[in-house]
């Protein structure tokens, strides 16, 4: 009986490789950018804090979630910003204005039996002609419904990741100093 229990527990919690969903650009975020009257910008290379950023994998009850963009969550974030600038028609890869940054915290947790959580923190910079116009750390958290059952909780954790990124970008675009630096 104990052996059966051990097998079942192992089966429920054992790890497998997962990929985060691609980011679905938020039209509301893109409209915020479009309506703010900012100049065209490009997206630079983001760095990751190696101690805290979970840049290559986020653990969900022993399963490992990777980024679908270049295998790194910094590239996921770059791609998300680029897609929203693109929809707002203010993306220009040759612009002298560059958005960059350092990913500090990047995590989704489904460890609780009823509620999942996510956190994203990044130091964002805006440079114009290599001069820093904006340098600020932004942070957001999310909560979502989770479950005791790993078969439910883990997919919910996976699906929550794009929402975490969207909320982070929404908070960033709502920052008046960020918008001013892009004008």
């Amino acid at each position: 009986m104990r052996a059966l229990l051990a097998i079942l527990v192992f089966a429920v919690i054992s790890g497998c490789a997962l990929t985060a969903p691609n980011y679905s650009a938020s039209v509301e975020n893109a409209q915020m950018l479009r309506d703010s009257g900012i100049n065209k910008a490009r997206v630079g290379k983001f760095q990751a804090d190696p101690k805290t950023a979970n840049n290559e994998a986020i653990s969900l009850r022993g399963s490992s979630m990777a980024s679908p963009v270049g295998g790194k969550f910094t590239e996921y974030l770059e791609d998300a910003i680029r897609s929203e600038l693109n929809i707002a028609r203010i993306f220009d890869d040759k612009s002298t204005i560059e958005i960059g940054g350092v990913l500090i915290q990047n995590d989704v947790s489904v460890g609780s039996i009823s509620e999942g959580t996510g956190i994203m923190e990044a130091r964002i910079t805006v440079k114009r002609d290599s001069q820093i116009r904006f340098d600020k750390t932004k942070s957001v958290t999310i909560t979502f419904e989770s479950s005791f059952a790993g078969a439910v909780a883990i997919p919910r954790g996976v699906q929550a990741y794009p929402n975490l990124v969207q909320k982070f970008l929404s908070a960033l675009y709502a920052d008046k100093e960020f918008i001013a630096a892009l004008k």
């Binding site: 691609n22 938020s26 509301e28 893109a30 929809i87 059952a149 078969a151 439910v152 794009p162």
Partner: protein
Amino acid sequence: MKMLGRLCVILTVALVGACAHPINIAPKAELSDSAGASIQKSVAYVISQEDRDREVTTPGGGGDLVSYFLYRDLEAGIFQALSTVFSRVTLVRKINDAPTLTKNNVSLVLVPKITASSSSDGVLTWPPTQFSITIEYYVQDITGTQVYKNLTMGNGRATFSEFSGTGDFGLSGRRAAEDVLRKLKAQIAGAKELK
């Protein structure tokens, strides 16, 4: 021992309980073109927050299901498709969002209803190999009078070798989304009622 038995049952349900595989079907293809908008009008389209947050579940292969956020994944694509036709496009969450409609000088409002179906010819693999998306929509002017109504359907196919090569399990859905949005763009651009 009785408690251990109950725990076993709970764990077994947790293990084998049917669960849909999450996929993303947001189009990647660029719908914008450099020619610019052909109709100099400001339009809005309506996707309610409830629709955006609704998770849709349809069949995959091997008796499994796939789940995705249909409206959320197509939201940006519709914006881009309309932006190639109209000079200004605004997303609203409610059809009666008068402040936003007024602020953006909106003259037409498009209301889409999106449905999807999927299937797979794979017996042992879950990603859908065939996908179909329908956008049924009407357009009303600012007084609420319906001026145009139509529907369009897009299809997408993908093979198992493509899934295993790219890891993109929503590929057939993405192709269906790109197909339906291309057709929507052409249909709207050709509708004389909207000019």
